[in-house]
Protein backbone atom coordinates (compact mmCIF):
# COMPACT_ATOMS: atom_id res chain seq x y z
CA UNK A 1 0.00 0.00 0.00
CA UNK A 2 2.76 2.39 0.97
CA UNK A 3 6.34 2.17 -0.26
CA UNK A 4 9.04 4.56 0.79
CA UNK A 5 12.26 4.18 -1.16
CA UNK A 6 15.57 5.76 -0.17
CA UNK A 7 14.01 8.94 1.14
CA UNK A 8 16.36 11.76 2.12
CA UNK A 9 14.93 14.78 3.90
CA UNK A 10 16.68 17.93 5.01
CA UNK A 11 15.86 20.84 7.28
CA UNK A 12 18.03 23.48 5.68
CA UNK A 13 21.49 21.95 5.99
CA UNK A 14 20.48 19.30 8.51
CA UNK A 15 20.20 15.85 6.99
CA UNK A 16 17.21 14.57 8.96
CA UNK A 17 16.34 11.35 7.10
CA UNK A 18 19.08 9.29 5.51
CA UNK A 19 18.11 6.73 2.87
CA UNK A 20 14.99 5.62 4.68
CA UNK A 21 13.09 2.78 3.04
CA UNK A 22 9.94 1.34 4.50
CA UNK A 23 6.80 -0.40 3.34
CA UNK A 24 3.33 -0.94 4.71
CA UNK A 25 0.66 -3.47 3.78
CA UNK A 26 -3.04 -2.69 3.81
CA UNK A 27 -4.65 -3.18 7.22
CA UNK A 28 -1.41 -3.23 9.17
CA UNK A 29 -0.40 -1.29 12.25
CA UNK A 30 3.23 -0.39 11.85
CA UNK A 31 5.06 1.46 14.58
CA UNK A 32 8.08 3.65 14.32
CA UNK A 33 10.15 3.91 17.47
CA UNK A 34 13.22 5.94 18.21
CA UNK A 35 14.65 8.55 20.54
CA UNK A 36 13.83 12.24 20.43
CA UNK A 37 15.29 13.82 17.33
CA UNK A 38 15.68 10.49 15.54
CA UNK A 39 13.50 11.74 12.69
CA UNK A 40 10.15 10.08 13.41
CA UNK A 41 8.08 13.24 13.04
CA UNK A 42 10.14 14.22 10.02
CA UNK A 43 9.27 10.95 8.34
CA UNK A 44 5.55 11.57 8.91
CA UNK A 45 5.90 15.14 7.66
CA UNK A 46 7.70 13.94 4.55
CA UNK A 47 4.83 11.55 3.94
CA UNK A 48 2.28 14.34 4.44
CA UNK A 49 4.12 16.71 2.14
CA UNK A 50 4.92 19.27 4.83
CA UNK A 51 8.68 18.71 4.51
CA UNK A 52 9.01 17.21 1.03
CA UNK A 53 11.98 14.88 0.66
CA UNK A 54 14.88 16.02 -1.50
CA UNK A 55 15.64 12.55 -2.76
CA UNK A 56 13.92 9.20 -3.02
CA UNK A 57 10.41 8.19 -3.83
CA UNK A 58 7.15 7.65 -1.98
CA UNK A 59 4.50 5.47 -3.62
CA UNK A 60 1.00 5.26 -2.22
CA UNK A 61 -1.18 2.60 -3.80
CA UNK A 62 1.40 2.57 -6.59
CA UNK A 63 1.01 6.30 -7.28
CA UNK A 64 4.03 8.55 -6.65
CA UNK A 65 3.18 11.22 -4.07
CA UNK A 66 6.70 12.40 -3.34
CA UNK A 67 6.30 16.06 -4.21
CA UNK A 68 2.57 16.60 -3.80
CA UNK A 69 1.29 19.51 -1.70
CA UNK A 70 -0.10 18.51 1.72
CA UNK A 71 -3.75 19.12 0.78
CA UNK A 72 -3.40 16.85 -2.25
CA UNK A 73 -1.92 14.07 -0.16
CA UNK A 74 -4.96 14.27 2.13
CA UNK A 75 -7.08 13.84 -0.98
CA UNK A 76 -5.10 10.72 -1.88
CA UNK A 77 -6.22 9.18 1.41
CA UNK A 78 -3.41 9.86 3.88
CA UNK A 79 -4.34 11.79 7.01
CA UNK A 80 -2.04 12.80 9.81
CA UNK A 81 -2.84 13.28 13.49
CA UNK A 82 -0.02 15.71 14.16
CA UNK A 83 2.24 15.91 17.17
CA UNK A 84 0.73 18.13 19.85
CA UNK A 85 -2.80 17.64 18.37
CA UNK A 86 -2.78 21.02 16.56
CA UNK A 87 -6.48 21.56 17.04
CA UNK A 88 -8.09 24.79 15.81
CA UNK A 89 -8.74 26.13 19.29
CA UNK A 90 -10.79 29.22 18.42
CA UNK A 91 -13.31 27.02 16.62
CA UNK A 92 -15.91 24.72 18.15
CA UNK A 93 -15.48 20.96 18.43
CA UNK A 94 -18.10 20.52 15.74
CA UNK A 95 -16.34 22.97 13.40
CA UNK A 96 -13.05 21.15 13.88
CA UNK A 97 -14.67 17.92 12.77
CA UNK A 98 -16.40 19.67 9.89
CA UNK A 99 -13.04 20.98 8.69
CA UNK A 100 -11.68 17.44 8.88
CA UNK A 101 -14.05 16.65 6.01
CA UNK A 102 -13.00 19.78 4.12
CA UNK A 103 -11.95 17.80 1.06
CA UNK A 104 -15.57 16.77 0.55
CA UNK A 105 -17.06 20.25 0.95
CA UNK A 106 -17.77 20.71 -2.74
CA UNK A 107 -19.36 17.30 -3.22
CA UNK A 108 -23.04 17.40 -2.30
CA UNK A 109 -23.21 13.63 -2.76
CA UNK A 110 -20.76 13.10 0.11
CA UNK A 111 -22.85 15.02 2.64
CA UNK A 112 -24.67 11.93 3.86
CA UNK A 113 -21.46 9.93 4.30
CA UNK A 114 -19.75 12.79 6.08
CA UNK A 115 -22.63 12.96 8.52
CA UNK A 116 -22.34 9.22 9.10
CA UNK A 117 -18.61 9.53 9.73
CA UNK A 118 -19.29 12.28 12.26
CA UNK A 119 -21.84 10.07 14.02
CA UNK A 120 -19.32 7.25 14.06
CA UNK A 121 -16.75 9.56 15.66
CA UNK A 122 -19.23 10.79 18.28
CA UNK A 123 -19.92 7.15 19.06
CA UNK A 124 -16.22 6.45 19.36
CA UNK A 125 -15.71 9.47 21.64
CA UNK A 126 -19.02 10.27 23.36
CA UNK A 127 -17.41 13.13 25.29
CA UNK A 128 -16.90 15.01 22.00
CA UNK A 129 -20.61 14.81 21.31
CA UNK A 130 -21.34 16.28 24.71
CA UNK A 131 -18.94 19.16 24.00
CA UNK A 132 -19.60 19.66 20.34
CA UNK A 133 -20.72 23.29 20.73
CA UNK A 134 -17.82 24.18 23.01
CA UNK A 135 -14.73 25.96 21.77
CA UNK A 136 -11.99 23.40 21.24
CA UNK A 137 -9.64 25.53 23.34
CA UNK A 138 -11.61 24.54 26.45
CA UNK A 139 -10.97 20.80 26.08
CA UNK A 140 -8.59 18.75 28.22
CA UNK A 141 -5.49 17.10 26.77
CA UNK A 142 -7.15 13.73 26.29
CA UNK A 143 -10.21 15.28 24.69
CA UNK A 144 -8.00 17.30 22.34
CA UNK A 145 -6.28 14.10 21.28
CA UNK A 146 -9.64 12.45 20.65
CA UNK A 147 -10.71 15.44 18.61
CA UNK A 148 -7.47 15.38 16.65
CA UNK A 149 -7.98 11.70 15.81
CA UNK A 150 -11.64 12.37 15.00
CA UNK A 151 -10.73 15.27 12.74
CA UNK A 152 -8.31 13.10 10.79
CA UNK A 153 -10.88 10.31 10.48
CA UNK A 154 -13.42 12.71 9.00
CA UNK A 155 -11.41 12.59 5.77
CA UNK A 156 -11.99 8.80 5.74
CA UNK A 157 -8.32 8.05 5.18
CA UNK A 158 -6.91 4.75 3.95
CA UNK A 159 -3.72 5.42 5.83
CA UNK A 160 -3.68 7.15 9.21
CA UNK A 161 -0.44 8.65 10.51
CA UNK A 162 -0.40 9.08 14.28
CA UNK A 163 2.32 11.20 15.83
CA UNK A 164 2.80 10.59 19.56
CA UNK A 165 -0.88 10.21 20.44
CA UNK A 166 -0.12 9.48 24.10
CA UNK A 167 2.14 12.48 24.65
CA UNK A 168 1.31 14.40 27.79
CA UNK A 169 -1.65 12.22 28.71
CA UNK A 170 -2.37 10.49 32.00
CA UNK A 171 -1.59 6.76 31.66
CA UNK A 172 -5.24 5.79 31.92
CA UNK A 173 -6.25 8.24 29.17
CA UNK A 174 -3.36 7.07 27.00
CA UNK A 175 -4.59 3.51 27.49
CA UNK A 176 -8.02 4.57 26.28
CA UNK A 177 -6.55 6.20 23.18
CA UNK A 178 -4.48 3.08 22.40
CA UNK A 179 -7.62 0.98 22.74
CA UNK A 180 -9.42 3.18 20.22
CA UNK A 181 -6.52 2.92 17.78
CA UNK A 182 -6.51 -0.84 18.04
CA UNK A 183 -10.26 -1.03 17.50
CA UNK A 184 -10.01 1.30 14.53
CA UNK A 185 -7.51 -0.95 12.87
CA UNK A 186 -9.54 -4.06 13.57
CA UNK A 187 -12.99 -2.76 12.68
CA UNK A 188 -12.50 -0.28 9.88
CA UNK A 189 -9.35 -1.84 8.46
CA UNK A 190 -7.59 1.49 8.45
CA UNK A 191 -3.87 1.11 7.92
CA UNK A 192 -1.99 2.87 10.71
CA UNK A 193 1.54 4.20 11.02
CA UNK A 194 2.12 4.92 14.69
CA UNK A 195 4.95 7.01 16.06
CA UNK A 196 5.14 6.59 19.80
CA UNK A 197 7.37 7.39 22.77
CA UNK A 198 5.82 4.56 24.71
CA UNK A 199 7.57 1.89 22.68
CA UNK A 200 6.25 -0.99 24.74
CA UNK A 201 2.59 -0.07 24.24
CA UNK A 202 3.20 0.63 20.57
CA UNK A 203 4.96 -2.68 19.91
CA UNK A 204 2.27 -4.62 21.77
CA UNK A 205 -0.37 -3.15 19.52
CA UNK A 206 1.51 -3.18 16.22
CA UNK A 207 2.09 -5.93 13.72
CA UNK A 208 5.50 -4.73 12.67
CA UNK A 209 7.94 -2.11 13.79
CA UNK A 210 10.88 -0.04 12.59
CA UNK A 211 13.56 1.50 14.75
CA UNK A 212 14.89 4.87 13.68
CA UNK A 213 18.16 6.25 15.01
CA UNK A 214 19.60 9.62 14.00
CA UNK A 215 17.82 9.60 10.67
CA UNK A 216 18.55 5.99 9.73
CA UNK A 217 16.42 2.88 10.03
CA UNK A 218 18.58 0.49 12.02
CA UNK A 219 16.15 -2.35 12.70
CA UNK A 220 12.91 -3.70 11.40
CA UNK A 221 10.87 -6.74 12.18
CA UNK A 222 7.72 -8.25 13.59
CA UNK A 223 6.60 -6.32 16.64
CA UNK A 224 6.76 -9.41 18.84
CA UNK A 225 10.38 -10.03 17.81
CA UNK A 226 11.35 -6.42 18.45
CA UNK A 227 9.87 -6.67 21.94
CA UNK A 228 12.28 -9.56 22.58
CA UNK A 229 15.24 -7.90 20.91
CA UNK A 230 17.96 -7.18 23.48
CA UNK A 231 19.06 -3.94 21.86
CA UNK A 232 15.50 -2.63 21.65
CA UNK A 233 14.82 -3.66 25.23
CA UNK A 234 17.88 -1.82 26.46
CA UNK A 235 17.48 1.33 24.44
CA UNK A 236 13.72 1.81 24.22
CA UNK A 237 11.95 -0.41 26.71
CA UNK A 238 13.97 0.66 29.72
CA UNK A 239 14.92 -2.90 30.71
CA UNK A 240 17.98 -2.84 32.86
CA UNK A 241 20.38 -4.60 30.53
CA UNK A 242 24.03 -4.16 31.18
CA UNK A 243 26.28 -3.13 28.38
CA UNK A 244 28.36 -6.01 27.05
CA UNK A 245 31.56 -4.71 28.62
CA UNK A 246 29.87 -4.40 32.00
CA UNK A 247 29.07 -8.05 32.35
Amino acid sequence: MLKIKNVNTYYGQVHALKNVSLHMNAGEIVTLIGANGAGKTTLLNSLSGIVPPRGGEILFQDVPITNLAPHKIVKMGISQVPEGRQIFKPLSVEDNLELGAYLYHRAKAEKERTKKTADMIYELFPILKERRKQLAGTLSGGELQMLSIGRALMARPHLLLLDEPSMGLAPIVAQEIFQVIENLSRESETTILLVEQNARAALKMAHRGYVLETGRLILEGMAADLLENKEVQRAYLGKDKKEIWER
Partner: protein
Protein backbone atom coordinates in the same frame (compact mmCIF):
# COMPACT_ATOMS: atom_id res chain seq x y z
CA UNK B 1 -24.38 71.46 22.01
CA UNK B 2 -25.37 71.65 18.37
CA UNK B 3 -21.75 71.33 17.45
CA UNK B 4 -21.30 68.31 19.62
CA UNK B 5 -23.98 66.43 17.71
CA UNK B 6 -22.32 67.34 14.48
CA UNK B 7 -18.91 66.23 15.69
CA UNK B 8 -20.29 62.96 16.96
CA UNK B 9 -22.01 62.29 13.67
CA UNK B 10 -19.06 62.99 11.45
CA UNK B 11 -16.82 61.16 13.90
CA UNK B 12 -18.97 58.07 13.74
CA UNK B 13 -19.18 58.07 9.96
CA UNK B 14 -15.43 58.52 9.56
CA UNK B 15 -14.99 55.88 12.21
CA UNK B 16 -17.15 53.45 10.27
CA UNK B 17 -14.89 53.94 7.25
CA UNK B 18 -11.77 53.43 9.37
CA UNK B 19 -13.33 50.26 10.69
CA UNK B 20 -13.96 48.94 7.19
CA UNK B 21 -10.39 49.69 6.15
CA UNK B 22 -9.14 48.14 9.38
CA UNK B 23 -11.13 45.01 8.62
CA UNK B 24 -9.08 44.59 5.46
CA UNK B 25 -5.87 44.79 7.50
CA UNK B 26 -7.16 42.24 10.00
CA UNK B 27 -8.30 39.71 7.39
CA UNK B 28 -4.94 39.62 5.64
CA UNK B 29 -2.97 39.74 8.87
CA UNK B 30 -4.91 36.84 10.31
CA UNK B 31 -4.49 34.70 7.24
CA UNK B 32 -0.82 35.43 6.58
CA UNK B 33 0.81 37.36 9.41
CA UNK B 34 1.43 40.21 6.97
CA UNK B 35 0.40 43.79 7.57
CA UNK B 36 -0.65 44.90 4.13
CA UNK B 37 0.33 48.53 3.82
CA UNK B 38 -1.16 48.58 0.33
CA UNK B 39 -4.59 48.37 1.97
CA UNK B 40 -5.10 52.11 1.62
CA UNK B 41 -4.46 51.91 -2.11
CA UNK B 42 -7.45 49.63 -2.53
CA UNK B 43 -9.50 52.32 -0.80
CA UNK B 44 -8.15 54.87 -3.27
CA UNK B 45 -8.78 52.52 -6.19
CA UNK B 46 -12.39 52.11 -5.10
CA UNK B 47 -12.97 55.85 -5.09
CA UNK B 48 -11.08 56.58 -8.30
CA UNK B 49 -12.61 53.68 -10.24
CA UNK B 50 -16.11 54.65 -9.14
CA UNK B 51 -15.39 58.21 -10.22
CA UNK B 52 -14.08 56.98 -13.55
CA UNK B 53 -17.12 54.84 -14.34
CA UNK B 54 -19.72 57.19 -12.91
CA UNK B 55 -18.45 60.55 -14.10
CA UNK B 56 -16.21 59.86 -17.08
CA UNK B 57 -18.02 56.88 -18.56
CA UNK B 58 -21.45 58.01 -17.46
CA UNK B 59 -22.51 54.60 -16.12
CA UNK B 60 -25.36 54.43 -13.61
CA UNK B 61 -24.48 54.21 -9.93
CA UNK B 62 -24.85 50.53 -9.07
CA UNK B 63 -22.98 49.07 -12.08
CA UNK B 64 -20.22 51.60 -11.45
CA UNK B 65 -19.89 50.47 -7.85
CA UNK B 66 -19.95 46.79 -8.73
CA UNK B 67 -17.40 47.22 -11.53
CA UNK B 68 -15.11 49.23 -9.29
CA UNK B 69 -15.17 46.63 -6.55
CA UNK B 70 -14.57 43.84 -9.06
CA UNK B 71 -11.60 45.57 -10.62
CA UNK B 72 -10.09 46.45 -7.24
CA UNK B 73 -10.53 42.83 -6.19
CA UNK B 74 -8.75 41.64 -9.32
CA UNK B 75 -5.93 44.06 -8.57
CA UNK B 76 -5.77 42.53 -5.08
CA UNK B 77 -5.51 39.03 -6.53
CA UNK B 78 -2.84 40.06 -9.03
CA UNK B 79 -0.93 41.76 -6.23
CA UNK B 80 -0.99 38.55 -4.21
CA UNK B 81 0.04 36.41 -7.18
CA UNK B 82 2.89 38.63 -8.35
CA UNK B 83 4.26 40.12 -5.15
CA UNK B 84 3.37 37.80 -2.28
CA UNK B 85 3.07 34.22 -3.53
CA UNK B 86 6.45 33.96 -5.29
CA UNK B 87 8.14 34.54 -1.90
CA UNK B 88 6.26 31.82 -0.12
CA UNK B 89 8.80 31.14 2.60
CA UNK B 90 9.81 34.72 3.23
CA UNK B 91 9.52 36.23 6.69
CA UNK B 92 6.51 38.51 7.25
CA UNK B 93 8.75 41.55 7.63
CA UNK B 94 10.04 41.17 4.06
CA UNK B 95 6.52 40.77 2.76
CA UNK B 96 5.40 43.84 4.72
CA UNK B 97 8.12 45.88 3.04
CA UNK B 98 6.97 44.50 -0.30
CA UNK B 99 3.44 45.72 0.44
CA UNK B 100 4.87 49.21 1.00
CA UNK B 101 6.55 48.99 -2.38
CA UNK B 102 3.36 47.76 -3.97
CA UNK B 103 1.43 50.65 -2.47
CA UNK B 104 3.87 53.15 -3.98
CA UNK B 105 3.54 51.37 -7.32
CA UNK B 106 -0.27 51.35 -7.30
CA UNK B 107 -0.36 55.01 -6.27
CA UNK B 108 2.03 55.92 -9.07
CA UNK B 109 0.04 53.98 -11.62
CA UNK B 110 -3.15 55.73 -10.47
CA UNK B 111 -1.46 59.09 -10.83
CA UNK B 112 -0.39 58.27 -14.40
CA UNK B 113 -3.86 57.06 -15.33
CA UNK B 114 -6.06 59.66 -13.65
CA UNK B 115 -3.73 62.59 -13.03
CA UNK B 116 -3.16 64.55 -9.84
CA UNK B 117 -6.49 66.33 -9.60
CA UNK B 118 -8.83 66.00 -6.71
CA UNK B 119 -12.37 65.04 -7.63
CA UNK B 120 -15.68 64.79 -5.87
CA UNK B 121 -17.84 61.78 -6.43
CA UNK B 122 -21.54 62.72 -6.53
CA UNK B 123 -23.41 61.63 -3.42
CA UNK B 124 -25.48 58.49 -3.87
CA UNK B 125 -28.82 60.05 -2.94
CA UNK B 126 -28.41 63.75 -3.40
CA UNK B 127 -26.99 66.48 -1.22
CA UNK B 128 -30.08 67.59 0.66
CA UNK B 129 -29.29 67.30 4.33
CA UNK B 130 -31.71 65.61 6.67
CA UNK B 131 -32.35 67.07 10.10
CA UNK B 132 -32.39 64.58 12.93
CA UNK B 133 -32.59 65.73 16.54
CA UNK B 134 -31.08 69.08 15.74
CA UNK B 135 -28.13 67.77 13.78
CA UNK B 136 -27.85 67.88 10.05
CA UNK B 137 -27.02 64.60 8.48
CA UNK B 138 -26.14 63.99 4.85
CA UNK B 139 -27.82 61.05 3.16
CA UNK B 140 -24.31 59.80 2.41
CA UNK B 141 -23.72 59.33 6.14
CA UNK B 142 -26.68 56.99 6.23
CA UNK B 143 -25.19 55.06 3.31
CA UNK B 144 -21.94 54.73 5.20
CA UNK B 145 -23.63 53.41 8.34
CA UNK B 146 -25.80 51.01 6.38
CA UNK B 147 -22.95 49.61 4.31
CA UNK B 148 -20.70 49.25 7.34
CA UNK B 149 -23.32 47.34 9.28
CA UNK B 150 -24.01 45.16 6.25
CA UNK B 151 -20.32 44.34 5.77
CA UNK B 152 -19.83 43.53 9.44
CA UNK B 153 -22.81 41.21 9.54
CA UNK B 154 -22.02 39.44 6.31
CA UNK B 155 -18.43 38.88 7.30
CA UNK B 156 -19.52 37.49 10.66
CA UNK B 157 -21.84 35.17 8.79
CA UNK B 158 -19.08 34.20 6.40
CA UNK B 159 -16.41 33.52 9.01
CA UNK B 160 -18.67 31.72 11.48
CA UNK B 161 -21.11 29.81 9.35
CA UNK B 162 -19.57 28.83 6.04
CA UNK B 163 -17.00 26.10 5.58
CA UNK B 164 -14.74 28.38 3.54
CA UNK B 165 -14.87 31.05 6.23
CA UNK B 166 -14.08 28.48 8.90
CA UNK B 167 -11.25 27.15 6.75
CA UNK B 168 -9.81 30.66 6.55
CA UNK B 169 -9.93 30.96 10.34
CA UNK B 170 -8.32 27.55 10.67
CA UNK B 171 -5.54 28.70 8.35
CA UNK B 172 -5.09 31.85 10.35
CA UNK B 173 -4.77 29.88 13.57
CA UNK B 174 -2.49 27.13 12.28
CA UNK B 175 -1.68 26.93 8.59
CA UNK B 176 0.18 23.64 8.86
CA UNK B 177 -2.68 21.88 10.60
CA UNK B 178 -5.05 23.39 8.03
CA UNK B 179 -3.05 21.89 5.20
CA UNK B 180 -3.14 18.53 7.00
CA UNK B 181 -6.94 18.46 6.82
CA UNK B 182 -6.82 19.14 3.11
CA UNK B 183 -7.15 22.92 2.97
CA UNK B 184 -5.14 24.58 0.20
CA UNK B 185 -3.48 27.33 2.18
CA UNK B 186 -2.50 29.31 -0.93
CA UNK B 187 -6.12 29.61 -1.99
CA UNK B 188 -7.03 30.88 1.46
CA UNK B 189 -4.30 33.51 1.28
CA UNK B 190 -5.51 34.61 -2.13
CA UNK B 191 -9.04 34.74 -0.82
CA UNK B 192 -8.00 36.92 2.08
CA UNK B 193 -6.37 39.37 -0.31
CA UNK B 194 -9.41 39.49 -2.53
CA UNK B 195 -11.85 39.96 0.35
CA UNK B 196 -9.85 42.77 1.88
CA UNK B 197 -9.39 44.46 -1.50
CA UNK B 198 -13.15 44.28 -2.00
CA UNK B 199 -13.97 45.68 1.45
CA UNK B 200 -11.28 48.37 1.09
CA UNK B 201 -12.53 49.53 -2.28
CA UNK B 202 -16.11 49.57 -1.01
CA UNK B 203 -14.99 51.82 1.84
CA UNK B 204 -13.27 54.08 -0.68
CA UNK B 205 -16.39 54.34 -2.78
CA UNK B 206 -18.79 55.25 -0.02
CA UNK B 207 -16.51 57.84 1.56
CA UNK B 208 -15.52 59.54 -1.72
CA UNK B 209 -18.64 61.77 -1.95
CA UNK B 210 -17.86 63.24 1.50
CA UNK B 211 -14.10 63.63 1.43
CA UNK B 212 -13.20 63.96 -2.25
CA UNK B 213 -10.84 61.54 -3.88
CA UNK B 214 -7.49 61.69 -5.62
CA UNK B 215 -4.63 59.34 -6.38
CA UNK B 216 -3.03 59.85 -2.99
CA UNK B 217 -5.91 59.52 -0.51
CA UNK B 218 -4.84 55.95 0.16
CA UNK B 219 -1.91 56.83 2.39
CA UNK B 220 -3.85 58.66 5.04
CA UNK B 221 -6.96 56.47 4.91
CA UNK B 222 -4.82 53.35 5.03
CA UNK B 223 -2.94 54.59 8.07
CA UNK B 224 -6.20 55.48 9.81
CA UNK B 225 -7.50 52.00 9.13
CA UNK B 226 -4.26 50.65 10.53
CA UNK B 227 -4.80 52.73 13.69
CA UNK B 228 -8.32 51.34 13.99
CA UNK B 229 -7.17 47.77 13.78
CA UNK B 230 -4.31 48.33 16.23
CA UNK B 231 -6.72 49.90 18.73
CA UNK B 232 -9.10 47.02 18.22
CA UNK B 233 -6.43 44.34 18.51
CA UNK B 234 -5.70 42.73 15.15
CA UNK B 235 -7.74 39.60 15.50
CA UNK B 236 -11.15 40.48 16.83
CA UNK B 237 -13.72 41.55 14.26
CA UNK B 238 -15.88 43.57 16.60
CA UNK B 239 -12.81 45.06 18.25
CA UNK B 240 -11.77 46.61 14.95
CA UNK B 241 -15.21 48.17 14.57
CA UNK B 242 -15.00 49.63 18.06
CA UNK B 243 -11.45 50.79 17.35
CA UNK B 244 -12.55 52.54 14.17
CA UNK B 245 -15.51 54.26 15.80
CA UNK B 246 -13.42 55.34 18.79
CA UNK B 247 -10.75 56.73 16.51
CA UNK B 248 -13.29 58.59 14.40
CA UNK B 249 -14.98 60.08 17.46
CA UNK B 250 -11.76 61.20 19.15
CA UNK B 251 -10.56 62.72 15.90
CA UNK B 252 -13.77 64.62 15.33
CA UNK B 253 -14.01 65.84 18.92
CA UNK B 254 -10.36 66.82 18.94
CA UNK B 255 -10.68 68.62 15.65
CA UNK B 256 -13.85 70.39 16.83
CA UNK B 257 -12.86 71.43 20.33
CA UNK B 258 -9.12 71.82 20.05
CA UNK B 259 -8.15 72.55 16.50
CA UNK B 260 -8.85 71.05 13.13
CA UNK B 261 -5.11 71.05 12.51
CA UNK B 262 -4.63 68.30 15.09
CA UNK B 263 -7.07 65.87 13.48
CA UNK B 264 -4.44 63.54 12.01
CA UNK B 265 -2.04 64.04 14.89
CA UNK B 266 -4.66 62.71 17.29
CA UNK B 267 -4.93 59.44 15.37
CA UNK B 268 -1.20 58.87 15.45
CA UNK B 269 -0.82 59.86 19.10
CA UNK B 270 -3.45 57.25 19.92
CA UNK B 271 -1.62 54.73 17.75
CA UNK B 272 1.65 55.35 19.58
CA UNK B 273 0.02 55.20 23.01
CA UNK B 274 -1.63 51.90 22.18
CA UNK B 275 1.58 50.45 20.82
CA UNK B 276 3.47 51.56 23.93
CA UNK B 277 1.03 50.54 26.60
CA UNK B 278 -1.32 47.94 25.19
CA UNK B 279 0.15 46.43 22.04
CA UNK B 280 -2.49 43.68 21.98
CA UNK B 281 -5.14 46.39 21.46
CA UNK B 282 -7.94 47.61 23.70
CA UNK B 283 -10.24 44.79 22.72
CA UNK B 284 -7.72 42.12 21.80
CA UNK B 285 -7.00 39.21 24.08
CA UNK B 286 -3.52 38.13 24.95
CA UNK B 287 -2.85 34.71 23.48
CA UNK B 288 -2.84 32.21 26.26
CA UNK B 289 -1.76 28.80 25.14
CA UNK B 290 -2.63 25.67 27.01
CA UNK B 291 -0.27 22.88 26.21
Amino acid sequence: MDNLYQYLLSGLSNGAIYALIGFGFAIIHNATGIINFAQGEFVMLGGMLALFFLVFCGFPLSPSIILSILIATVVGIIFERLAIRPLKNAKPIRLIIITIGASIFIRGAAMLIWGKDTHALPAFSGNDPLYIAGATIMPQHLWIFAVTILVIFSSRLFFNHTIIGKAMRACAYNAQAASLVGIDVRIMVMLSFSISAAIGSLAGIIIAPLTMTSYDVGIMLGLKGFCAVIIGGMSSGLGTVMGGLLLGLLEALGAGFISAGYKDAIAFIILLLILFFRPEGLFGKKETERV
